[in-house]
């Protein structure tokens, strides 16, 4: 399923505010989204995952500022667009037709005084000027049908739709121009679990048909493990681990990933006492020294208090999945990782 790279983020830094009071919301993020891939971005609130997505699409508003790094979009193999250098006119063309976004809260993202139909055709009017009115209308109806809503709801307003239907409309809108990349920012967080499952099933089916890549942002790692091909875990603005979804589930390398995974009680098997992660996420204005996770980490060593680890590729090779990387001193070769953080990541140990 995976093709070449589609979106490459390297060394991306985003600050809110400037000068000594600036909050470093994203620090030195490296990510690659491949063609046709679902890349999951997991993290708690305030970990910078949405900020990263907005920075990549250049939708970040002041006081947010991109202070470093590069984002390149591979429109076709060999044709690279530098998204951070692109001007507004160039971005206008790229946005939505190549990269679209499904916002977290469909209640706020849809315009309450316009019908669903006019919001769907609006996208087409802006990007497909050669389409006639009837054509646009037909395409909008087709889009609605595609996400499982009957086309006669085109005249409905957002308050006449249930939460799940609103979110489906948002997805239909994001797919209107058949983009290469769809960024989904917590698309199902506000929904009930049954509705969430229905929408994810539909999304999977649509992806098989239309073959777009997804950057899926959520705090729910247990959900992500199910739907993503590979996963990046963020903590306090930093990527702490990158791995294939199965490898992350079976064999996490970073203590934070391990803690997150053991924060979700299981639906099967004997009930086990879980501890979660001690402490609370840090205040980005007063980050701890060294590794930002060390105050909550039960494996912290002296070195972690003073030196910040970088996200480095791990030596182990995983034939089945993408290259793993972790930002933890336990894995730089000088320390011995405990067994729970060094389980074999190959598929042999599937539960």
């Amino acid at each position: 399923m995976n093709g070449g790279p589609l979106l490459e983020v390297s060394g991306l830094c985003v600050d809110y505010g400037a000068g000594p009071g600036a909050v470093h919301a994203v620090v030195d993020a490296d990510l690659v989204l491949h063609r046709g891939e679902v890349l999951g971005l997991a993290g708690e609130s305030g970990s910078g995952k949405s900020t990263l997505a907005y920075a990549v699409t250049r939708l970040l508003r002041a006081p947010g500022m991109i202070t470093g790094g590069a984002v390149s979009y591979h429109r076709e193999p060999g044709q690279v667009v530098d998204l951070l250098a692109a001007g507004e006119a160039e971005l206008r063309v790229l946005r939505w037709s190549q990269i679209s976004v499904v916002m977290q809260s469909a209640m706020n993202a849809l315009n309450p005084v316009l019908s669903i139909g006019s919001q769907l055709t609006d996208v087409l009017r802006a990007h497909r000027p050669d389409m006639g009115k009837a054509e646009r209308r037909a395409r909008a109806a087709q889009l609605l049908t595609m996400v499982g809503i009957s086309a006669d709801r085109l005249g409905s307003y957002q308050h006449e739709l249930s939460g799940g239907m609103r979110q489906r409309v948002m997805i239909a809108m994001a797919l209107a121009l058949e983009p290469q990349i769809v960024i989904m920012d917590e698309p199902t967080t506000a929904l009930d679990v049954v509705t969430q499952r229905e929408i994810l099933e539909e999304l999977t089916a649509l992806r098989e048909r239309l073959d777009f890549a997804v950057l899926f942002i959520t705090h729910d790692l247990s959900l992500l493990v199910e739907i993503a091909d590979s996963i990046a875990v963020m903590y306090a603005g930093r990527l702490v681990e990158r791995a294939g979804a199965g490898a992350l589930l079976r064999a996490p390398r970073h203590p934070y990933s391990l803690g997150l995974l053991s924060s979700f009680p299981a639906l099967h098997g004997p009930r086990q006492h879980l501890t979660g992660i001690a402490g609370s996420p840090p205040d980005l204005r007063q980050l701890p020294s060294g590794c930002v996770f060390h105050p909550r980490c039960s494996y912290a060593m002296d070195r972690c208090l003073t030196q910040a680890p970088q996200l480095l590729p791990l030596a182990e090779s995983d034939a089945a999945g993408p290259q793993r990387a972790a930002a933890c001193w336990l894995h730089d070769g000088s320390a011995t990782a405990p067994p729970e953080l060094s389980a074999p990541s190959l598929a042999g140990s599937q539960p």
């Binding site: 009680p265 099967h268 609370s280």
Partner: protein, 395 residues
């Protein structure tokens, strides 16, 4: 009518700490009845919006329309047990918590505290509040931003005459903070809500509820607003309060995995009714009601990841309008097993195992052929792939 009583009590105890019998709450539809007829506009529109495509449009003009928020729910909370109520939004679980806390007056039904009936109306509210305390979902909203932790914890002590002002009260507050693991307590006692993290705030809210030494703690989605990594800490705190202090705890949640983790007993609510109840692991491992099966098959489950042929959802559609709930079983419009009788009569709760009850006609062994006819129009292939029909296991 559905009767679910007596959710698996611990064998040794006598009367449960708090028991609800046949609790029903109907809310008048907003806008009242005066404008209902004729004017059509706002009211009819709202009723239509509420029902959406869900079941069928409300009869916009019908006077006295009500939301059937909670319908004939019986539940008992035993000491030293956690009872979880699981349901989607709009299933009436929060209304149930408010009924049990006596914040809303039931349309009918009774509450029994230690086996003796609670007087109707507002009498004895304060004594009741000393026994039964409620913890709300959002600790960012339930603590007063202009008061510090000391004030929040001293207030219930003063209101209920449990502490003299002065040094003694600080000692009591310190002990309370230690009970919810906010230590060292002297660091927290003077803090304001904005200086605390979400998990710490929820702990203060729990300490506030514990201040009057209640016997029943009602926790309405206590962790859903918290960050993932600190939810377990709060859940474990509730578990400790059950184990060490013998509190009867009601844990309301939409997350069936966390209910399985914490609770001894689970009751599943759908559209204002309890559809299944029983020991936590039995309900989650061997669900009997089709709705519980649907809920479990929809829940995120990393262990099923990568396995092909994940069971497709057996049902489509959304919960019904509670203004005009479907006749018969409220789940039947979405149920892959619906039979003729499901549209006609509400199923009673059948005992499917010891302490395990399920309100579904599939458990009835004496249906005649006409009653058991599957409702036409169900698409083939909608039957859930994973479980046998519930009735077949037990009969």
């Amino acid at each position: 009518m559905t009767q679910i009583q007596d959710i698996s009590q611990p064998p040794a105890t006598s009367a449960p700490a708090l028991e609800a019998r046949g609790l029903t709450k109907h809310f008048a539809v907003h806008g009242g009845t005066s404008r209902a007829r004729g004017a059509g506009g706002a009211r009819g529109f709202r009723a239509r919006a509420q029902s959406g495509s869900l079941w069928r449009p409300a009869r916009a003009g019908s006077p006295g329309a009500v939301v059937h928020a909670v319908e004939d729910v019986s539940l008992s909370l035993a000491a030293a047990r956690v009872t979880a109520v699981v349901g989607e939004s709009g299933s009436g679980k929060s209304t149930l918590a408010r009924l049990l806390a006596r914040l809303v007056r039931p349309t009918s039904g009774t509450l029994l505290l230690d086996g003796s009936p609670v007087p109707p109306g507002g009498r004895g509210r304060r004594d009741y509040a000393r026994q039964v305390q409620l913890v709300l979902q959002d600790p960012f909203a339930s603590l007063n931003p202009v008061h510090d932790v000391r004030y929040h914890l001293a207030r219930p002590l003063q209101v209920h005459g449990l502490a003299e002002p002065g040094a003694g009260i600080d000692e009591t507050i310190t002990r309370l903070l230690e009970r919810v693991a906010l230590t060292p307590a002297d660091q927290f006692i003077g803090k304001y809500p904005h200086e605390l993290s979400g998990g710490q705030r929820q702990r203060v809210a729990i300490a506030r509820a514990l201040a009057v030494q209640p016997r029943v703690l009602l926790a309405d989605e206590p962790v859903s607003m918290l960050d993932v990594s600190i939810r377990l800490g709060v859940l474990n705190l509730l578990g400790d309060l059950r184990d060490t202090e013998g509190l009867a705890i009601l844990y309301i949640t939409h997350d069936i995995a966390s209910a399985r983790y914490l609770a001894d007993t689970i009751a599943v609510m759908y559209a204002g009714q309890v559809v299944e109840s029983g020991p936590a692991e039995v309900v989650t491992d061997r669900p009997e009601h089709p709705y519980t099966q649907l809920l479990l098959s929809a829940a995120p489950d990393p262990e099923r990841a990568g396995l092909t042929g994940r069971p497709a959802l057996g049902s489509r559609g959304a919960p019904p309008s509670l203004v005009t709930p479907p006749p018969g079983c409220r789940f039947h419009p979405r149920c892959p097993h619906a039979m003729a009788i499901c549209a006609e009569a509400a199923p009673p709760a059948f005992d499917v195992a010891d302490g395990h009850r399920s309100a579904c006609w599939l458990h009835a062994s004496d249906l005649d052929a006409a009653q058991a006819v599957p409702i036409a129009g169900r698409k083939a292939g909608q039957a859930p792939a994973q479980a046998p029909r519930p009735g077949e296991e037990t009969h």
